[in-house]
């Protein structure tokens, strides 16, 4: 009886401790980040190494890097997931090899992706420190996550659809386009959201690929500083940059939350539409 009460107490204490620390972290960032946060902070260019001014070009670079990463990763991952789920038998050698190598890819540390991106995209392919290099590196990084979630989503689509549409003599491609992909859309969007979250939070893979330059990028071949790199630089290399770093961290967290909720509502809307009107 005593043991029972003791463990209950311990577990409640742990939960309070854990939520306490995390609420502390979030509150700290909100309290210190909010005063500097304003519309002009979001659109102005950074001045005095980021101590003053805003983060306009940095937000643009972040979104461009993210865009490049997703534009590359989404078709590739969707194609791979469709192949694994719909066009290969579960025990096929090819499918097993692909899955295995993706599992390994998922475990590669982000700094190693940074090394790889630097060696391949910046130097070998001659793209230099650029938004393109950074985006492509991130695409490699989020690929396993996107494939895994998309494959799970497709496999969760009702098998009756496959049988019924095959029994009507429909091709696999048509079944995929008209029935399976729509049914898997919420899962696809949810996976995409995870991938975007992971990509936007990344720092280590970007330092040596997209670079440090905090000017407004002119093209995808320009170097661009991502928001997370900006936070890192302000806190480590710029004395007196803490206030800007706090606000940038707050913007990054808000951006993540925003992407999450947009994706969620999109998924819900799609679900709603496919049941009611399509």
């Amino acid at each position: 009886m005593v043991k029972n009460a003791l463990t209950t107490l311990l577990i409640w204490l742990t939960a309070i401790l854990v939520s306490g620390v995390f609420v502390w972290l979030l509150a700290d960032i909100i309290i210190h980040g909010l005063p500097k946060l304003s519309w002009s902070f979001l659109v102005e260019t950074p001045k005095n190494a980021g101590r003053s001014g805003g983060i306009g070009p940095i937000i643009v670079s972040t979104l461009l890097i993210l865009g490049v990463a997703m534009v590359t990763a989404i078709p590739l991952s969707l194609a791979t997931a469709v192949l694994l789920s719909e066009f290969t038998r579960h025990d096929s050698v090819f499918g097993r090899l692909v899955r295995r190598s993706l599992d390994v890819l998922a475990g590669v540390p982000s700094i190693v992706f940074g090394l790889f991106g630097n060696a391949v995209f910046c130097i070998y392919l001659g793209l230099g420190f650029s938004i393109l290099s950074g985006g492509l590196t991130l695409a490699c990084m989020v690929l396993p996550l996107l494939i895994r979630t998309a494959e799970e989503g497709l496999q969760a689509a009702p098998n009756e659809y496959r049988l019924a549409s095959a029994a009507l003599g429909m091709s696999r491609s048509a079944t995929l386009v008209h029935l399976l992909l729509p049914a898997a859309t919420p899962a696809l969007v949810a996976g995409l959201m995870l991938g975007v979250g992971r990509a936007i939070a990344e720092t280590a893979a970007l330092i040596f690929t997209s670079g440090y330059v905090d000017r407004m990028p002119d093209s995808l071949f320009d170097s661009g500083r991502a928001l997370s790199v900006h936070i890192y630089d302000l806190s480590m290399n710029v004395a007196g940059g803490d206030a800007s770093a706090y606000s940038s961290a707050l913007v990054l967290i808000l951006l993540l939350l925003m992407i999450n909720s947009i994706a969620l509502s999109l998924a819900n809307q799609w679900l709603h539409r496919s049941v009611v009107t399509a």
Binding site: L25, G107, R172
Partner: protein
Amino acid sequence: MFLSRTDRQLAALLQGCALLAATIVLLILLFLIKESWPVLQHVALTRFVIDASWHPVQGLYQLTPMLSATLYSTLGAVVLATPLGIASALFSRYFAPPFIAGCYRRLIELLAGIPSVVYGFWGLITLAPLIGRLHPPGVSLLTGILVLTLMILPTVALTADAALAAVPLAYVRGAAALGLSRWGLISGVALPAARSGIIAGTLLAAGRAIGETMAVLMVVGNVVQQPQSLLDSVRTLTANIALEMAYATGVHRAALFVSGLALMVMVLVLVSTAELLSRKRHYG
């Protein structure tokens, strides 16, 4: 398997994409080896351990201080995060009223998504000065361990939660029918049944801790030395790469790629162990 013409064309296209996706990991290995070749070719692997210090430009390649910093910080974080994470999972699954459990799970999910650079920044600004009052300078192995603990805790908690959720309800009902107390039920039935899932999750979290760069780099002080106490400044393998890549050239750069290769091997061992464990769980 019969496929119509459109199906066959689509399948060929998809196969090409899948092949591309699958070769990325090979490309990574290939390029890591290619870039570290100038060093691997001339320097025996033992030199990374027995050399006097880390001065790659002068041909000294001792990686042990960085290796031990990585291992200590990972070990410390896993030791702290595992009980906290499991307790968190137990809390939301068995102890908390449904509403609180839901909020708690949302909080943990939110934290799993917070960028590592934010954890590092917070550790640098808030945690390090607190520890600095104890023993300056504050940026130390201990700070690194604490920040890493916070970072991997959500991973441990979420995987443990999923593993507990997968315990068949019949076991729990059966145990309850035998009149077991709540703790008896958890320690006797739920935890053993979820054990391999929890261990796999912990290993994944350890892999994340080893590979983590920014959060650690920002709070451990980055002095290349063998730590004598928890309050010493250290430099991890990942931080070393991030700090020196900016100006490294020639053999120095190659040596950094060697440490990248070492990191990859360590993580791969952990990930494969975790995978083996979770596979065992599937087959009974």
